[in-house]
Each structure stands twice: as structure tokens, then as C-alpha cells.
Amino acid sequence: MLDDRSSYSGIGFGCPIDTAGEVVFNTGMVGYTETLTDPSYRGQILCITYPLIGNYGVPSKKIQDIHGLPKYFESDKIQVRGLLIHNLSRVASHWTAIKTLDQWLYEEGIPGIYGIDTRDLTKKLRVRGVMMGAMSVSENRVAEESRLSKLMDSEYYEGRNFMDQVSVPAVRQYGDDMNNCIVLVDAGTKYSIIRNIIKAGYRAVILPWNSTFEEIMNYHPAGVIISNGPGDPTCCVETIKTAARLIDTSTPTLGICLGNQILALAAGAKTFKLKFGHRAQNKPCKDLSNGQTYITTQNHGYGINPESLKGTGFRTWFSNIDDTTIEGIEHEKKPIVAVQFHPEASPGPYDCAFVFDRFKELIENSEKAVKKGNLLQTSNDSKLHGGKIAQT
């Protein structure tokens, strides 16, 4: 049932319970194991437009990638409140599959409904914007509309802080001890961001969302990444404060999705809620520095207000070709960049993995500049003549 009191019925699967949340849709055609475990979906009921879900079953969490993280998932549990699809595949056919989608949802206590007219639901969400909804799966006929209404009205999404549900409670590390580290401020991070940090040659130190600037600097990071996550960015007050310090001190920083919005807010810009969000694997984004367009994967419900970016020191880096929303920002002088889409993909295309390469470059350039700065400090004492000082 949606908050306009319209309802859809179908056949239940997964765990037979009731739940409520913000109803959103995603148009990606593959990758349901990654999508369902993406913490950015916390508090939401997901409708997948692609009609056949569950074809390749669910693999074991024990299968790990080379960094020791579960290969086919983006976090340690299903994050959506409920799943709405058109057709459920009762058969799981894949060499990695150990259970069906139905079984997995049941084990994790998440309800699902199939047989829903997902096209109609999606069209409605597109026209009306995302809505609150409640769903009920049970062995008996579901007829108690009033119960569902009450459940829906008792839940809320906007203005809610989900951080304690998705952020890591204490520090965690991945990667080689010998390497320099990048601190990842965890606002609901996907594993694939960690994978990319390690791939870039760093150790990943994961800290909670409300870590202070001092706590982060204790680890002497080469750079800081602010992760993706669920909910309204303005709720992450502590993270915004920390981000402001990062900007002030010109610490090399990369923001992804929610992280992008947090950096913008810290710089003094404003965010707004998109009507129905961008949740897909096929969004074209143009890199304004070279005119190249890339296909990106996206999952966000909020965006940066372009007018408010003026005077913050940031400018637009990527722009969404279809609706001109800001898809990435870069600081005019400091080694700080952020993207709204997901360069780590998973699910989705790997076209924008170069964003991590650019971040690495920023880190290395900034290290060089610092070294030069230090050299000049000592050489100033011996009164060197000539030579230009490189400004960061």
C-alpha cells in the first residue's frame, strides 16, 4: 500500500512479515545480490523494474575476493526493508548459487512480493515522486488495510538518521599493513569502495560516520574518502563538521554519493531531494573537463543545488546529460573531489573506475607539493635565490 492509499497485491515470498519504508525503484537489469546489500537502501522498499529476478540464485558469502571481502555482496546483510518484483525465479541456475532468492530473503527476515505490476508502480512513482509505503506478506489473506495504514504512518524516512544502522561501530582495517592508509569515513559504505582503495595500493582504515577530524588524522592518512550511505545528507551533522575541517586543511578527499553531498554542504552549498531519485546502471554523465561522456551506475535520492555551489570554492566536474543535475564536483584549488554516481560500480559498469586513479594522483601530487614545501622551509633558512614556489 502506498501513501496515496492505492495498493498492489501479488504473491508473497521471503519472510512473511509486515514492514514499511520509502518506496523507490531501480532499473538495473543485473546485480540483485549487490543491490539488495547496498546500505544506501536502508529504510526503503525497493521495486526492481526488470521483470525476471532471481535467475542466478544467491552465492555463498564465504566466497571472497582477493581482499577478503565477500565477492558478490556489498555489505553483510540485506539492507532493503522489502522487495517488489514482477517475476520470481524459483530456479537458481548458476555455478555459484547455493540458494534461491526466496530462501535468502527468508533467512534474512525480509519480505518480498512478486506478481506486482512493476511498470505501473514505477510510472506512478515517476509522476508522484517517491512515496512511503507498507507491505505485508502472510500465509493468510491480507485484508487489514487499516493495519497497513497505521504501520505506514508510523514510519518515516525524511529527516531520519540511519547512521547507527549502517556505519561501522569501531575501527576496521583491510589491506597490507605496509601500505600507506586511506581513511574511509563509513556512512554506509559498500564493500566495493574498500576493494578499490586496496586496488589503488593503500590500506583501508574504516572509521564511523561521526569520527572527528582529530580521530581521522591520528591514522596519518594519505587521503580520506567519505562514503555513500542512506538518507538525507543534512542529518549527518558530525560528518559535515569533519568534512569542513578536511576542506580547510586541504586534506586530499574523495566523496562518493552521500559523501559528495556532505562535502558540498560542508563548503556551504545546499542539497535538495530529487523527485524520484536516480537508481539505475545506465546514466550518462559528462566530464566537463574533457567533454567525454560515461555510462554510470547511480543510487541517490538527493542532489546538490547548483546555484548554491557558487562561491564555495567547488565547481561542477560531472553533469548528468539528461537532467543537468550535478554528478560530480571538484575544488578549484584544493585536492578535493567528489562524485554523485558510483565509480566502484557493483552493480553496474566499470567505466568510471578512473575516479579512484584521479584521487590517487591528487594524493601523490599533494604529497610532492608538501615535500617541496618542507624543502623550501629548510632551504629558506639558507637563503636560496630564485626558483618558483609551487602553490597547492
Binding site: 521483470p51 535467475n55 541456475s93 548458476h94 546502471q281
Partner: protein
């Protein structure tokens, strides 16, 4: 960004051959006309829509070979030529024109993928090298120009091997050899059919999945993977004779995007400009894959992809050939968003080939790496069952659906079961009905998969 060409004076030439390419040819001509480009069409087939006077400025109903094309070039003196809309024939002709120096002599620019790029995709050895350079796996293979060479290579790679013939289409002249005797027969036929007297001997992986991607790429390096397809009868049967679903059904996220990235790298290495089709083999039991071939042109599968996704591949390819960047082209359905995107479907499309074996008495009905079908139908549905039932009805073979014949209570004797298993092992045009009979006879889905390599999900 403005298109880099001045429009009204420019002349271009389009060549097309088969009926299959009528769609792509007409779309291309439409695109050219919109941009005030004068077009000259060479197409010997009068039974096509594109040869109507409303499309091209001038039409020559002549065969597509160097002699006649040169004559037309001599008369019309075009600035440029388009080879990607006429199938394999047009590509081959274009390459010949270039090797004979005709294009240089008349100062003609090739629009879209240049001749060098076409050569890389067609010549098996160049293709292999290009794939290795772009980090895309290929199966062990080597080209042969004589039977003795072929024998040596087959011994090294070890049987079974598949023989592919350079510069042909439909898998013509090729085949799978399980021993030297078969190898000899196929190689001799293949060498004679190849324009460059070259065959490729490659390791055969008939049980691997066969996945295709349709890609758009412009001259600035922007690309979009418009469609992906899965061949239900796996690698063993040529895609033309295969039952194809779009999008793929049994690939997970990593496999889908790994192949997608490989497709991007491969086409970038070949400098594809416009549209192309790339085929991969994927191991059903691991993430191992290999690139099979690239068709640097519109094809039968791009017509299918266009209809399945609503994305007008030929039209967009023509615009790209004229110099437009993909992001600046407009999506023809929404009219307000860009054409540089990848269609996301909320339905499934199925293509089923149509054979006409009654008309050809001596042709074996067995399906393999050489294409035998004469047409195809496409069905759209919200699920696989719906799509395949619709397709069967449209094939007009007197069947109302998958299970309309026969009876669920039939009893099957052991000899019949053996016959059914044989049919699964050596598929003929009625393979899907054989699968139904097999299931009724109590043969398990696993066993059917073992014999026919059809993924258990479809079964």
C-alpha cells in the same frame, strides 16, 4: 557541439545488399537526408524499401563488387563512402576497393570504422593480436593457409576444434572437427570459400554460453552498450540458428559487466566508429571467457537489438559516421534525453529462427556452426514462458505452443528415450520440442543440460 561537416555540398554513398539490411539501409538514408547530405545508394535488390526514390538521391541497382562500384564512383565522384550498412558483402567490397587503391585514387573518405579497423575484425590473426593487446581473452587458435598447416595446428590445440573462415558470414564454410578426417573435409571447403584463402583453427568450446553485445561508439571515444543477448543453445549453434533472448538471463553482475568492459576495450582497440556486434563465449562453470568475433557493421542481431530496445542503431550509427558525438544525439523515443545511454528493459525479448527444410531436401536438419535458417520471429513478453510461446505461434509451423502436441501421460520406451537423447546431443530445428518430450519422458533437467548445453534456467 556542432557536427564537423558542412552539410549541403557533401556527398556520401551507401551500399547495401540483403533484405535483412533493408532496415539499416533505410534508417541510414533517412539520417543522411535530415542532414542535407546527398546520397547515392548501390543495392542490387529491387525488392527493398530503401531503394524507393524517397530515400536516396540516386539509386543504382547493381551488384556489389569492385567493378560496378568503381563505375558508380567514376560517375558520381562522391566525397565519402559508407560500408557498415550493407552487411558482409559491403565490408568485403570496401576492403577490396581499398586494396586496389580505388578509394585513394578518387580521394574518398571511409565514414565510420576505417578500413584498417575492418581488417582487424575480419582477419583472424589480426583480430587475435588486437584482443591480446586490449587484454581480452581469446581461445587458443592459429590461422592456416593450407591443409598441412591446419593439421599441425589442430594437433597442437588438440581436438575438438572449430574451423572459421575469414571474410565470410553466416559461419559459411566452417565447422567443428572432432578428428582429422572431419578436419580435412572442412578445411578444404573453407579455404576455397575464403576470399583470402585463410581459415582459423580454434579450440572448440561448444558447451560454453554464447553472449553478444551491441555497441555504439563515436569518434570521440564515447560509447554505449545498447543491448546484450544470450543464445539459449550455447556456443554450439551459430547465432543465426540460435534462440536468442535479450537481455541475457543467466549472467550475474560481475559476468555481465566484465564482458561489457571487455567489449569496450576490444572495440576501442579496433577503433570502431559507429555500431558493432561482439560475441563472447563464457564458461558456465567459472568466470573464464573469450572473444569470438567482432562484426564492425550493422547486422541481423542489430536489427533485433533495435527492435527489442527501441534504440535505432542504424540511424544513430549513420549520424555518428557523419561526425556527431553520441551524447549530442537525441533519444528518439523520449525526445528530450540523450542517445548516449543504455536502454534498460522491463520485459524480455526472444528471437526464434525459422527454417525451411522442406524446400531443401538434401540439407541435413542438424544445427551447428553454419547458419541454415531463412528468417526469424521476435516475441516480447514479461517472462520467458510468455515470450517463447508467442514466438512458437508466430513461426507459423502449425504449433500453438511448446506443449500443444502430445500428451503428458505418454509412456516412453527405452529406444525412444535413446532417440531423444541423441536429438539433444545433435540438435535439429525442433530442438525445443525435443526438450519437451525429454521432460515428459522423465529425463531430468540436469541430464538435458549435459547433452544439449541449454542452461538449466531455461529448462
Amino acid at each position: 557541439m556542432e557536427a564537423a561537416l558542412s552539410k549541403s555540398e557533401k556527398r556520401a554513398k551507401v551500399r547495401t545488399a540483403d533484405r535483412q539490411f533493408d532496415y539499416s539501409g533505410s534508417q541510414c538514408l533517412k539520417a543522411l537526408r535530415e542532414d542535407d547530405v546527398r546520397s547515392v545508394l548501390i543495392n542490387p535488390n529491387i525488392a527493398t524499401i530503401q531503394t524507393d526514390s524517397r530515400f536516396a538521391d540516386r539509386v543504382y541497382l547493381l551488384p556489389i563488387n569492385v567493378t560496378y562500384v568503381q563505375k558508380v564512383i567514376e560517375k558520381e565522384r562522391p566525397d565519402s563512402i559508407m560500408l557498415n550498412f550493407g552487411g558482409q558483402t559491403a565490408l568485403n567490397c570496401g576492403v577490396s576497393l581499398d586494396s586496389e587503391g580505388i578509394l585513394d585514387r578518387y580521394g574518398i573518405t571511409v565514414l565510420g570504422t576505417k578500413i584498417d579497423g575492418i581488417r582487424i575484425t575480419e582477419d583472424r590473426q589480426l583480430f587475435k593480436e588486437a584482443m591480446q593487446k586490449s587484454g581480452v581473452h581469446v581461445l587458443p587458435s592459429a590461422p592456416a593457409y593450407s591443409l598441412s598447416e591446419a593439421r599441425k595446428i589442430a594437433k597442437e590445440i588438440s581436438f575438438p576444434v572449430i574451423i572459421r573462415v575469414a571474410y565470410t558470414l553466416g559461419g559459411k564454410g566452417g565447422g567443428v572437427a572432432y578428428n582429422e578426417y572431419e578436419l580435412e573435409e572442412i578445411v578444404q571447403r573453407g579455404l576455397s570459400l575464403s576470399v583470402v584463402h585463410q581459415v582459423l583453427i580454434e579450440k572448440y568450446v561448444g558447451n560454453w554460453k554464447q553472449i553478444e553485445y551491441e555497441l555504439m561508439r563515436d569518434s570521440h571515444g564515447n560509447n554505449a552498450v545498447v543491448c546484450n543477448m544470450e543464445n539459449i543453445l550455447a556456443m554450439r549453434v551459430h547465432t543465426g540458428d540460435n534462440i536468442v533472448v535479450t537481455p541475457s538471463q543467466t549472467l550475474n553482475n560481475i559476468e555481465y559487466h566484465k564482458l561489457r568492459s571487455a567489449a569496450q576495450r576490444a572495440t576501442s582497440q579496433c577503433n570502431i566508429v559507429g555500431e558493432c556486434n561482439i560475441q563472447f563465449g563464457l564458461d558456465p562453470c567459472s568466470e573464464r571467457y573469450c572473444a569470438i568475433e567482432i562484426n564492425a557493421r550493422l547486422s541481423r542481431s542489430s536489427a533485433l537489438a533495435s527492435k527489442a530496445t527501441g534504440y535505432p542503431l542504424a540511424y544513430m550509427a549513420a549520424k555518428i559516421c557523419l561526425g556527431y558525438a553520441l551524447p549530442e544525439l537525441v533519444n528518439r523515443i523520449t525526445k528530450v534525453t540523450t542517445a548516449c545511454f543504455e536502454p534498460s528493459l522491463d520485459y524480455i525479448t526472444l528471437k526464434m529462427p525459422r527454417w525451411d527444410f522442406q524446400k531443401f531436401e538434401h540439407v541435413k536438419r542438424r544445427l551447428g556452426s553454419t547458419m541454415k535458417s531463412v528468417g526469424e520471429v521476435m516475441a516480447i513478453g514479461k517472462n520467458f514462458e510468455e515470450a517463447i510461446q508467442k514466438a512458437i505461434r508466430m513461426c507459423d509451423i502449425d504449433k500453438d505452443g511448446l506443449t500443444s502436441d502430445g500428451d503428458n501421460n505418454e509412456i516412453y520406451f527405452p529406444e525412444e528415450i535413446e532417440k531423444i537423447e541423441q536429438s539433444l546431443l545433435h540438435p535439429e530445428d525442433d530442438i525445443i520440442f525435443t526438450v519437451v518430450r525429454a521432460l515428459r519422458a522423465g529425463i531430468t533437467a540436469d541430464r538435458i543440460n549435459q547433452l544439449s548445453h541449454i542452461d538449466p534456467w531455461f529448462l
